[in-house]
Symmetry: C2
DNA sequence: CGGGACGGCGTACGGCGTACGGCCCGTTGT
DNA sequence: ACAACGGGCCGTACGCCGTACGCCGTCCCG
């Protein structure tokens, strides 16, 4: 009963792929494909040409196999993307970071930004459900160590991480959009703006929203300098860390006198 | 020369639709369609069934016209989504908010959260290029007024807004994913977790990553209570505002003695 | 009252994800 | 040694999608 649609609601299968649970049989040598080869090919395509270019046919072609062969190893495209994501997380540094919590968190933020820069498709890979692969767990554990032992509750530690990583993702997305715009329209950000400005000015009937126009122009000029997203990241990160330091200080003050 | 692909790189056309520049001709009465009717129908579909259910055929069907008729008013789906976004922004409150900058920013954050709750598809509507419609401009202007006159530079004002709105979007997305997961799998968050947990435990070979397991469980329990995302939003918002207050205080201190 | 512009849309094309069923070959049981 | 089997591989096909193209009918303007 129930169950209805949604083909692969099979947790065991999906998780097994994520965790590479697959004892090598006597048969497995000499096979044309492996999950790893598929995932690597898929990531290469997405890195080079974006998520839209990632199709099952394209992946199969890159591997020199028939399209449907891929489905022998992966239940569907959604699951493939899940494994791609977890694999990408596996590339991140895991060494313990020196310094106080702020330095550690800052480092983690930059590591994540670097990841998104290397794999911009991750910013668009909307995965409804959590991935729960080995590398995500390892990443989570590693990042938790940056905020452990500074007086926060478990829930707060998670919330701090969520906040910082959320900011990184937002900033990375903004930066990536500038690049996408160029690729999609063939114009630089400045050119695009110039081609729209005259029309926009006409519609806005000069003088309405003076504040928006002034600030928008100021922000837009930075933006065009391809330094705007960078600034937004840095500014926001420091603000976020400042905000976190308030709680940390509170907890420290509450803990010591007792 | 140049120009190449990308069908509608015509700024005038796109902007004209966004701004509803269309002097009513003698003909226009009695027409079956208008951009507004199309956009309203599209938003209704996306609100009710999500962005995946939004297809041009579906929109046309809802309006009782042939699929291709929609293209008479809108160059393509991407532009339709742009107009949907700008239209949704038009629903937001615009009254001046009382209180200090913090109260004003907090209000703005909650207004944006409410918008995303009403129109979760906006969280997935990735629009490479900026929308630049009338309601977005009005919204921007309105939100700038919350941070004007507190000593920030233009660029900083923009960055503050970006930071706050980015956080809202992140939190809203997290909240929306819980709902999507339920709709997609037919299980509640708790059920989904329960069906995955035993497998996950087996793979993690009990004992590795104790921190991640503990904190993840704590955070996950909140999550399951459908109160987790709420908490993450509130916690993050206060942290962000705390962080902003540091700059504001700095600027105030630097400004007064001079 | 004739001509042209434009709203409306049927058809068709190329692409997608993927269900299904068959082929073929290595492995295993006798 | 050989038969039976299972599983990797994949050709074909289906039902979606966005949308290019060109026809048709109607209404406006001269």
């Amino acid at each position: 009963m129930a169950s209805e649609r949604r083909a692969t609601a099979d947790p065991a299968r999906s998780l097994a792929i994520l965790w590479r649970t697959r004892e090598p049989t006597s048969r497995s040598a000499g096979l044309a494909l492996t999950v790893d080869r598929i995932v690597r090919a898929a990531i290469a395509i997405a890195d080079a040409e974006g998520l839209d270019a990632l199709t099952m046919r394209r992946v199969a072609e890159a591997l020199g196999v028939g399209t449907m062969s891929v489905y022998t190893y992966v239940p569907g495209k959604a699951e493939l993307v899940d494994v791609m994501i977890d694999t990408a997380y596996g590339e991140m540094p895991r060494e313990a970071v020196a310094g106080d919590w702020r330095a550690r968190l800052e480092r983690i933020a930059r590591d994540n930004l670097a990841l998104y820069r290397r794999h911009p498709w991750m910013l668009r890979a909307e995965t409804t459900r959590p991935v729960l692969g080995p590398h995500l767990v390892a990443k989570y554990d590693h990042e938790l160590s940056a905020v452990a032992d500074i007086g926060l509750t478990d829930v707060e530690m998670d919330a701090v991480l969520t906040l910082v990583l959320g900011h990184v993702k937002s900033a990375a997305r903004a930066a990536s959009e500038v690049v996408d715009l160029e690729r999609e329209t063939g114009m630089t950000d400045g050119q695009w703006w110039q081609s729209h400005a005259p029309w926009l000015e006409r519609f806005m009937s000069a003088g309405s929203y003076p504040t928006a126009a002034r600030v928008g122009t100021a922000a837009g000029q930075q933006h065009g300098a391809a330094y705007g997203p960078e600034y937004a990241f840095e500014f926001g990160l420091q603000r976020v860390l400042d905000g976190i330091s308030v709680v940390v200080a509170e907890r420290a003050a509450a803990g010591e006198p007792a």
